[in-house]
Amino acid sequence: MHEMGIAEGILSSSLEAAEGAGAVRITSVFVTIGELTEVSEDALQFAWEAICPGTLAEGSVLDITMVPASSRCADCGHEWVHDRYSGAQCPSCGGWVIMLRQGREMRIDSIDIDEESDA
C-alpha cells in the first residue's frame, strides 16, 4: 500500500501550488501514471479520499491518466507501444538495447482551483 506515500506526495505539491495561487479550494488534481509502475489506481483513489479531509483539497477529484509503455530500439530506431512483457526485445530487428520512452511516469500535471473571488 505505497499509494499512501504517493498520495501524500500529490497532496503536498497540490497544496503548495494552491497556496501560491491564492486558492480557497482545490477542485481537481490531474496526475499521470505509467503502466510499468506498481501504482494501483483504486488504491490511489482510496488513499486520496483518506488524506484530503481538513485540507484545501477536501472533496476534490483525483483525475488519473494511465499511460502505456513505449520504447525505441537503439539498433534500428523502431518505436513501439508495449505491455510489460513485450518491451525487452525489439519486435522489428530482435535487438536487445532498448530505450524506454514512457511508462514509468508518476507525475502531477496540474490542479483546478477556486480563487477567493470565486468563493
Binding site: M1, H2, S13, Y85, S86, W96, M106, R107, D109
Partner: protein, 222 residues
C-alpha cells in the same frame, strides 16, 4: 482556474535520492538495494555475500524492517557494522530514511553498503533510494510464476538472485519458464541460482557484484 505543476509526484524523495547518490559517489561507496519477499533469504544472502567479499571490501549493512532489530543483530554478530531502520508500518524504505542511516556510518572507511529493503515485492520497486544498483531475490518455494504477478521489481533490478536453489527438487519450480519470463521483462538481466545457507552459487553472484563495485570505483576516480 487551472494551475500547472508538471512535477514528479515523488519529487521530495527523488531529490534526496539524487543527493544520496552524489554523496555515495563522492566517497566511492557502492550501495546495493536488495529487495525480496519476507522469507526469501535476504539476510542469509547478505551474510553469504559478506563472507565472500569481506577480505576485499569494507562492508556495512542497513537493515529495513517494519519493526525489530533482529536482522541488524545477526549482521553485527558477523562482525560487520549494521544500522537498523524501523519503518513503523511503512512497506518500503525511502531516501530520507537511508540518509539518516548513512549519517551514522563512516563513508570514507567503506566500499560497499548493502541495504536490506522491507520484505515486499511491490512497493520498494517504485522508490529511488540513491542506490548504485537494485538487485532482487526470489526463492524457489515462492514459485516460478512470480514475475507474472510482480513484474516491476524484475524490471528495475540489475540482477536476479534465485535463492534456495537446493530445494528445486522439492518444489514444482519451472526454471526454464522462469528465465523466459524474466527475459521478456528485463532483457539480458543476469540470473544467479544460489543457496545462501549452503554456499552453492554464491561466488558467481559475489564476483558479479565485485566487478560492479570495481567498475564504479574506476568511474569515480576518473
Amino acid at each position: 482556474m487551472k494551475v500547472d505543476i508538471e512535477k514528479r509526484i515523488l519529487a521530495v524523495n527523488d531529490e534526496l535520492a539524487g543527493s544520496n547518490r552524489e554523496l555515495f559517489a563522492r566517497h566511492g561507496v557502492f550501495v546495493l538495494d536488495l529487495m525480496a519477499s519476507p522469507g526469501a533469504g535476504k539476510t542469509a544472502t547478505i551474510l553469504a555475500t559478506i563472507d565472500a567479499l569481506r577480505d576485499r571490501y569494507a562492508i556495512a549493512v542497513i537493515e529495513g524492517d517494519i519493526a525489530s532489530k533482529v536482522d541488524a543483530e545477526k549482521v553485527r554478530a558477523h562482525g560487520i557494522p549494521a544500522v537498523q531502520i524501523n519503518t513503523g508500518g511503512a512497506c518500503h524504505l525511502e531516501s530520507a530514511m537511508i540518509r539518516r542511516a548513512v549519517d551514522t556510518l563512516d563513508l570514507d572507511a567503506l566500499d560497499l553498503i548493502i541495504i536490506e529493503n522491507v520484505g515486499n515485492l511491490v512497493c520498494p520497486s517504485d522508490f529511488d533510494l540513491g542506490e548504485t544498483a537494485k538487485v532482487m531475490i526470489l526463492s524457489v518455494p515462492e514459485g516460478h510464476d512470480k514475475p507474472y504477478k510482480y513484474p516491476n521489481i524484475f524490471q528495475v533490478s540489475e540482477a536476479v538472485i534465485l535463492n534456495k536453489y537446493d530445494t528445486m527438487g522439492v518444489f514444482d519450480f519451472d526454471e526454464e519458464e522462469f528465465r523466459e519470463v524474466v527475459k521478456s521483462l528485463n532483457g539480458q538481466v543476469p540470473v544467479f541460482p544460489i543457496s545462501a545457507t549452503k554456499g552453492y552459487g554464491v561466488s558467481a553472484w559475489a564476483e558479479w557484484l565485485a566487478a560492479r563495485i570495481d567498475a564504479a570505483k574506476g568511474e569515480g576516480s576518473e
